[in-house]
């Protein structure tokens, strides 16, 4: 198991409980996919894993998110440092309106990393995100001039530049075409050698392709978690079976 796990985690928007008593552990250097219907709480849960919900008014939690044995919601824990260790890639690519280089360098600069090592860090990050060969000759061009798929890989490079242990991905391919999606999926397969990855996706085939473990969320709770290769062919719970096969009744 990795250093990341949740214990009886419930998440509330005001008084409404969006996630209830979820205890999940995320295996190291592997991909865990969170699937479930819209509104089941999977994205809310994902955002809680690096305290992104802190920005949402009236959002509160009970239970714990432990990272390397430490509850990240402990009052003495710095949420900025948490997000440095547990990075996130969002649904829509959101590069800064800056150059390609500055997009990747921005985080390390803010973290006080010496400017002498930043060019090498940018190159390493872009290479890890499988983007270097496409942009190495135009690092000073605007990031917004890249295609959607390239922008998303740039955002992954930006997250990697902070050298996190965990990467959270919230439907990272939902705005991309099939070719760009295939490249991101290929990239996820490579990234798991260095990072623990948790991905939320609506695309069940994508979950089946990229993940090692799959958790099915329904009505704020986890119905079933299992090894992906058997999860999609032989789920154990009726609710999972009905969701995977698109059934009702």
């Amino acid at each position: 198991m990795s250093g990341l796990l949740t214990k009886d985690l419930s998440i509330f928007y005001g008084t409404k409980r969006a996630v209830q008593n979820v205890s999940l552990a995320f295996p190291s250097y592997s991909v865990t996919a969170l699937i479930g219907p819209s509104g089941c709480g999977k994205s809310t849960f994902l955002r809680a894993l690096n305290r992104m919900n802190d920005f949402i008014p009236h959002c509160s939690i009970t239970g714990e998110v432990q990272f390397n044995g430490q509850n990240i919601y402990h009052p003495q824990v710095d949420s900025v440092l948490v997000r440095r260790q547990i990075g996130m890639v969002f649904q829509k690519p959101n590069p800064f309106p800056k150059t390609i280089f500055e997009n990747v360098a921005w985080g390390p600069k803010r973290a006080g990393i010496s400017s002498s090592v930043i060019p090498r860090l940018v190159e390493e990050s872009l290479k890890a995100a499988a983007l270097w060969s496409e942009v190495s000759d135009r690092l000073n061009s605007p990031a917004l001039g890249l295609s959607g798929g390239q922008q998303q890989r740039l955002c992954i490079a930006r997250a990697i530049a902070m050298k996190p242990s965990v990467l959270l991905m919230d439907e990272p391919c939902s705005a991309l075409d099939p070719i760009a999606t295939a490249r991101i999926e290929e990239l996820i397969g490579n990234l798991k050698q260095k990072f623990t990855i948790v991905i939320v996706t609506h695309n069940m085939q994508q979950a089946a392709r990229v993940s090692d473990t799959t958790s099915f969320f329904l009505n704020g709770g986890v119905i079933e978690t299992g090894e992906t290769k058997s999860f999609f062919t032989r789920p154990e719970k009726v609710e999972t079976e009905n969701y995977l096969t698109g059934k009702f009744g």
Partner: protein, 231 residues
């Protein structure tokens, strides 16, 4: 598959696939019944009619393959639906092979009609009856998605194997003692072997039903693993 899919079209596609397999199975059953009659009555004309019906099975094989392929391509099924569609491919192949085997049996019946019968059949009609029942049960288990019925088929296979051995022994004795029985004996030898293969194919179908319903792969389970009684 008791609950319905949200997509009515998907539901319809799966129903059509199931119906095509049932039609294929029904055709095999009907061909087998006629083969049984042809053997008992030494009726070469009826046997030839069965041979001509094999094209129906061949055509249905192509229909089933196309329907299953379309579902895989368009619907990307998962869980029990995925198991059902992959089983459809395998069941379809088994049924097609059964059609070919019935043709082989009927060809031998046509040849037997030209050779004098030495003595009445004893075990062969019973074996034919057992195989008919196995095929019927395997198709029933598919229709009703019943693992209990499928388990009955698996248990019957041993009985067929035993009858095969008995007929072989009897034929060897007959051929040793009557020189003029060799030609006929060899043809009956082949028919017996073909019937035994039909039983094997119905066993395959039953195994696929168990895989579809429970996700258990019990093929080649002579080694430790689930047995018919534990399904």
């Amino acid at each position: 598959m008791s609950s319905k899919h949200f997509s009515a079209q998907f539901e319809e596609d799966l129903t059509k696939l199931k119906d095509s397999l049932l039609l294929m199975g029904g055709t095999i059953e009907s061909m087998l019944n006629e083969t049984h009659e042809a053997l008992l009555r030494n009726d070469a004309n009826l046997a030839r009619r069965v041979i001509h019906r094999d094209v129906e099975v061949d055509n249905l094989e192509k229909v089933v393959d196309q329907q299953a392929l379309q579902i895989l391509a368009l619907r990307q099924p998962a869980a029990i639906d995925l198991r059902f569609v992959t089983s459809a491919f395998k069941i379809c192949t088994d049924l097609e092979r059964m059609g070919d085997i019935l043709v082989n049996i009927c060809e031998r019946i046509c040849e037997l009609a030209e050779v004098e019968q030495l003595k009445p059949y004893e075990i062969l009609p019973e074996m034919m009856q057992t195989v008919r029942r196995m095929i019927s049960l395997s198709l029933d288990s598919f229709v009703n998605q019943s693992t209990e019925t499928a388990a009955e088929v698996l248990e019957s296979d041993q009985k067929v194997d035993q009858m095969t051995r008995e007929i072989f022994s009897e034929l060897v004795l007959l051929m040793k003692s009557h020189e003029n029985a060799v030609e006929r004996g060899l043809k009956l030898f082949f028919i017996t072997k073909h019937l035994e293969r039909l039983a094997d194919h119905s066993t395959n179908i039953a195994e696929q039903v168990i895989f579809t319903v429970k996700g258990l792969d019990i093929r080649h389970s002579h080694a430790p693993g689930p047995t018919p009684s534990s399904i």
